[in-house]
Symmetry: C2
Subunit: 213 residues, 2 copies
C-alpha cells in the first residue's frame, strides 16, 4: 500500500467512493476515473488525484479493477494498526462523542471514557464503559491506546494531557479551549466549538459588508 500524505479533503471523500464502488462491484469489473466522477457528481481531475494519492493510477483504457480498488481504499482507511481511542471527561459532549456512530465509517471507535466524577465503572447508553480516573493508566498501556480525546474543562486539560502522554498516547484531540504543551512527537488537534460558531457568525457580517460595498 502506498503510504504518502493524503489531504483531509481526499480522506473525507473515501467513504463516498467506497459506498459507490461496493454498489457497482456486482455490475462491472472495472471502472474509469471518468465514470466514477460522473456517477458521484465530482470533478474528474479531483477523482484522479484522490485515487492516485491512495492507490496509484488506473490502467489505461480499463481504469481501476473495482474489487482491488475497494481493497486498497479500505486498507488505507481502516489502518491495520491498533485503533483504540480513549476519552477523558464524560460530560455531555464527552458522552455524545463516546456513543457517536459516525467514527465506524473510518474503522475507529472510542473504547472507553474516564471521568474524575466516576467512582465505579458505569456504562454509556450504547454499552461503552465509563471508568474512574484510577483505571486510565493501566487501560491505555494494556490496550496500546494511540489517541486520547480531552473533553474536560480547560483548567484541567494540561494535567490530563500530561498523564495521557505518560501513558504512551501519540495524539491528542482537544475540545477544551486552551493551548497544550506537548513534546514534538505528539500531535495535537484542537476543536474549539465556541470559536467555530462565533467565526461563522462573524462571516455573516463580513459577507453583508461585501454585499453593501
Amino acid at each position: 500500500m502506498k503510504q504518502i500524505e493524503v489531504s483531509r479533503a481526499t480522506m473525507g471523500r473515501i467513504p463516498t467512493y467506497l459506498k459507490y464502488l461496493k454498489s457497482a462491484s456486482h455490475i462491472s469489473e472495472n471502472i474509469s476515473a471518468t465514470a466514477l466522477a460522473k456517477q458521484l457528481g465530482l470533478g474528474e481531475v479531483q477523482v484522479r488525484k484522490d485515487l492516485s494519492s491512495v492507490s496509484g493510477a488506473g490502467r489505461p483504457k480499463t481504469g481501476y479493477n473495482i474489487k482491488e480498488l475497494i481493497d486498497t481504499l479500505e486498507k488505507f482507511l481502516y489502518t491495520d494498526k491498533n485503533n483504540n481511542v480513549v476519552l477523558v471527561g464524560a460530560g455531555k459532549l464527552g458522552r455524545a462523542l463516546l456513543d457517536y456512530r459516525g467514527f465506524e465509517d473510518y474503522g475507529l471507535k472510542i473504547s472507553a471514557a474516564f471521568d474524575i466524577r466516576c467512582k465505579d465503572t458505569d456504562m454509556s447508553k450504547l454499552g461503552k464503559p465509563i471508568m474512574p480516573m484510577e483505571s486510565l493508566d493501566e487501560f491505555c498501556r494494556e490496550n496500546n491506546v494511540r489517541i486520547g480525546i480531552i473533553t474536560v474543562p480547560a483548567e484541567h486539560a494540561q494535567e490530563v494531557c500530561d498523564r495521557l502522554i505518560s501513558d504512551g498516547i501519540r495524539a491528542i484531540w482537544c475540545f477544551a479551549p486552551c493551548s497544550l504543551n506537548v513534546p514534538d512527537e505528539v500531535t495535537v488537534q484542537y476543536e474549539n466549538m465556541a470559536l467555530s460558531l462565533a467565526y461563522l457568525n462573524k462571516k455573516i457580517d463580513f459577507q453583508q459588508k461585501d454585499d453593501i460595498e
Copy 2:
C-alpha cells in the same frame, strides 16, 4: 468599530486578551502591546497584528487605553446584532451542543432545538426548549434567527437545510457527513467529527513514517 475580515486564529485569542485586560484594568490605565504579549506568553508581532486588525494601532509610548481596548474587543466579539441560533436534531450531539456553555464566551447562545421525534415542547437539562418541527418556521421568523445548526442524520440534512433557508437563515453549521446545496448568499461550515478523528489517526502514521525515513 473597524470591521475588516479578522482571522479565525485572531478571534480565538480575543477571549484571552479580554480576560487579562479585565484583570489588569484596576492596576493600570494603559498597556503596550509588548507588555500584553509578555504577560500572555505570545509573540509581540502576533499581538500587534491581532489588536490592530480589530481596534487599530496603540498610541506611541503609552500603548492602548485598557478600558477603551476592552470596549472595542467586546463590541467586536459580541456583535450588537441578533445572535439567535437554532439547532435541528436533538440527539446526543445536538443536546450536548444545546447546553454547551462555551458559546457564552462569544456572546452566542442556541435559543432552541427542534426535533422530529418531539411532539410537545420539552426542556433540556439547562432549561432550553426542545420543540416539535412544526414550530420551527414561526420561531425562526419571529426571532429573526441568523444561524441554523444541523445535527440530523445525513439523509435528512438537505431537507432541513432548505427549510432553514426558507425561514431566513443566513448561515448553516452542519454536523451531518454530507454536502449541502445552498444559494450563494448562505454560508455553510461543515464539522465532520469522524473525519477529524480519522485524520488525526492518519497523522500518527505519517509522522511515524517521517521518523523512520
